[in-house]
């Protein structure tokens, strides 16, 4: 059932290494605090699979600055996808809403890569069925462009201009043994004709 774990030894061009990722997440954490004027009413929801460890890491940083535990959970968007009927049935991933719920809270959705924007559209729908937050923000580790919907991120680890044939891979220690963001494939398409993360 598990997704194929990404290769632990990345091929492709490394665009963010472990230290870059750490720095980016630290910066995002501070930006969230700054924008939100503190951690009060904040709830972090990671989008499985790799948004969840990212949300946990950001929560940890925020907690260490603020001195209390920020609620963190996960939000599966599988059933809200707009391509559900175009692919084989997908297994569900965990949705865990922190005990305090999201009503009246500022929810920060956390994902690894922002691409077409369709996942976030689905996440907003899923959130709508869970409760009514005061505001919803979006934090992503990588924004690779090519948006298909009017959606933008509030907090971005790195803007990464890419070609559509390129493949952006995020590996995290929690799921893939190492931290790295790599780009595979080139414009002439020598390594991968069907990039992961292509718009659905």
């Amino acid at each position: 059932m598990c997704a194929q774990p990404a290769d632990a030894s990345p091929t492709g061009r490394v665009v963010l290494d472990a230290r870059d990722i750490t720095r980016a997440l630290t910066r995002i954490s501070h930006e969230i605090l700054e924008r939100n004027k503190g951690a009060g009413d904040l709830v972090l929801l990671g989008i499985p699979r790799r948004g969840v460890p990212l949300a946990l890491r950001i929560a940890e940083r925020i907690s260490s600055v603020e001195g209390f535990q920020v609620p963190v959970g996960s939000l599966d968007i599988t059933m809200y996808r707009d391509d559900l009927r175009m692919k084989p049935a997908r297994p569900l991933l965990p949705t865990e809403i922190p005990p305090g719920g999201i009503d009246g809270k500022v929810v920060v959705l956390v994902d690894d890569v922002l691409f077409s924007g369709r996942t976030i559209r689905a996440a907003l729908d899923a959130l709508n069925d869970v409760g009514r937050p005061q505001a919803v923000r979006l934090a992503v580790l990588v924004d690779r462009g090519h948006r298909e919907l009017p959606i933008r991120a509030d907090f971005v680890g790195k803007n990464l201009p890419t070609s559509l044939v390129e493949r952006v891979s995020v590996r995290l220690a929690e799921t893939d043994e190492i931290d790295a963001v790599t780009i595979d494939g080139t414009i002439d398409g020598t390594t991968d004709a069907t990039p992961e993360g292509s718009p659905a």
């Binding site: 997704a3 175009m86 049935a89 994902d111 691409f115």
Partner: protein
């Protein structure tokens, strides 16, 4: 998973575990303010019931509606057997209505199989109980209930007690629990075992008292009234004495052992009220779990393009 769910034998271990895990995610929906998911929006699920079974029908109906499917209930009591419309003509009618899935309950063993494989309909067929054959979603919800209480079913001992001969629940459970690694013991008087039970890959016993102390799960089956006067056993009283689960027998169970019943119960016959209402009894929970499991089945059969679950998983394609 295959396109249809006709028998518990259609499920590989991976398939069954996928259903259980999916059901686990869906079960939490009951705790949310909006108990609805959009996954099957625009899909039509037909509940085609040739036999009365209110509890199974409303369970499927709730499951389909929580996934936003349109539900048509078609109660066709009195099948072609009673000179009504034939199964085939009913099927063609449903096809014309654009059914994506047909949930069928029928008194004839194999009727869902015929529906799925005779070229009458293109939709997915889910067996909601056929004759004395199978009831695979009941087995899935039973396995799900056990799994939530006991964790992995590998090596777990499950005793299924009662009218195995006529029980579709027993058949589906024996198959599914075997697939999931449990050790199943069927307990019944010899008259209520089918010929060939030795080929089922399960243990059998005529002695309930010998089986109970080792069991992790005890599942009591209903004994239908029409069996009472057909010489399967001398009297209801003798049956209860030898094969009923009462308070005295319950005290021989291990501390963690749970008691199940697919319902509807005949209190005082196969199970006494004090057992049915005890802390060990998960009978009410079985009903709750039924909705989650049927949601999982409908989701996995219907949401995909090909009805093939788990074959594809591309991440971060946002």
């Amino acid at each position: 998973m295959k396109r249809h769910l006709l028998s518990a034998a259609d499920l590989t271990r991976d398939d069954a575990e996928l259903v259980l895990r999916t059901a686990e995610e869906l079960r939490s929906l009951a705790d949310r303010p909006i108990k609805k998911l959009p996954a099957l929006r625009g899909r039509t699920v037909v509940n085609l019931f040739f036999e009365d079974s209110t509890r199974t029908r409303i369970s499927f109906e709730a499951a389909a509606k929580r996934l936003s499917a349109d539900v048509i209930n078609f109660s066709a009591k009195g099948s072609s057997l009673s000179k009504g419309e034939s199964l085939k003509d009913t099927a063609l009618t449903l096809e014309a209505m654009g059914a994506d899935a047909v949930v069928v309950r029928h008194g004839a063993s194999g009727a869902p199989h015929r529906l799925a494989h005779s070229g009458w309909v293109r939709s997915s067929v889910v067996n909601a109980g056929d004759g004395t054959h199978e009831h695979p979603t009941q087995a899935l919800l039973d396995a799900f209930t056990m799994w939530r209480h006991l964790g992995s079913l590998d090596g777990r001992r499950v005793a299924i007690v009662g009218d195995v001969l006529h029980s579709r629940v027993a058949r589906s459970n024996a198959l599914l629990l075997h697939t999931l690694g449990a050790e199943v013991t069927l307990v019944a008087p010899p008259t209520l075992f089918p010929v060939g039970i030795d080929t089922w890959g399960v243990e059998t016993s005529y002695d309930l008292d010998a089986v109970l102390p080792k069991a992790d799960v005890v599942m009591m089956l209903r004994v239908q009234r029409e069996r009472m006067n057909a010489s399967f056993f001398p009297t209801a009283r003798e049956y209860s004495r030898r094969y009923g689960l009462d308070g005295k027998r319950m005290r021989t169970l291990q501390d963690h052992t749970i008691v199940m019943h697919p319902g509807p119960m005949v209190r005082g016959m196969e199970i006494t009220a004090d057992v049915a209402d005890s802390d060990r009894s998960v009978i009410v929970e079985q009903v709750t779990n039924g909705v989650a499991v049927r949601m999982a089945v409908l989701y996995l059969l219907l949401s995909g393009a090909e009805g093939v679950a788990g074959a594809d998983e591309s991440e971060n394609d946002a």
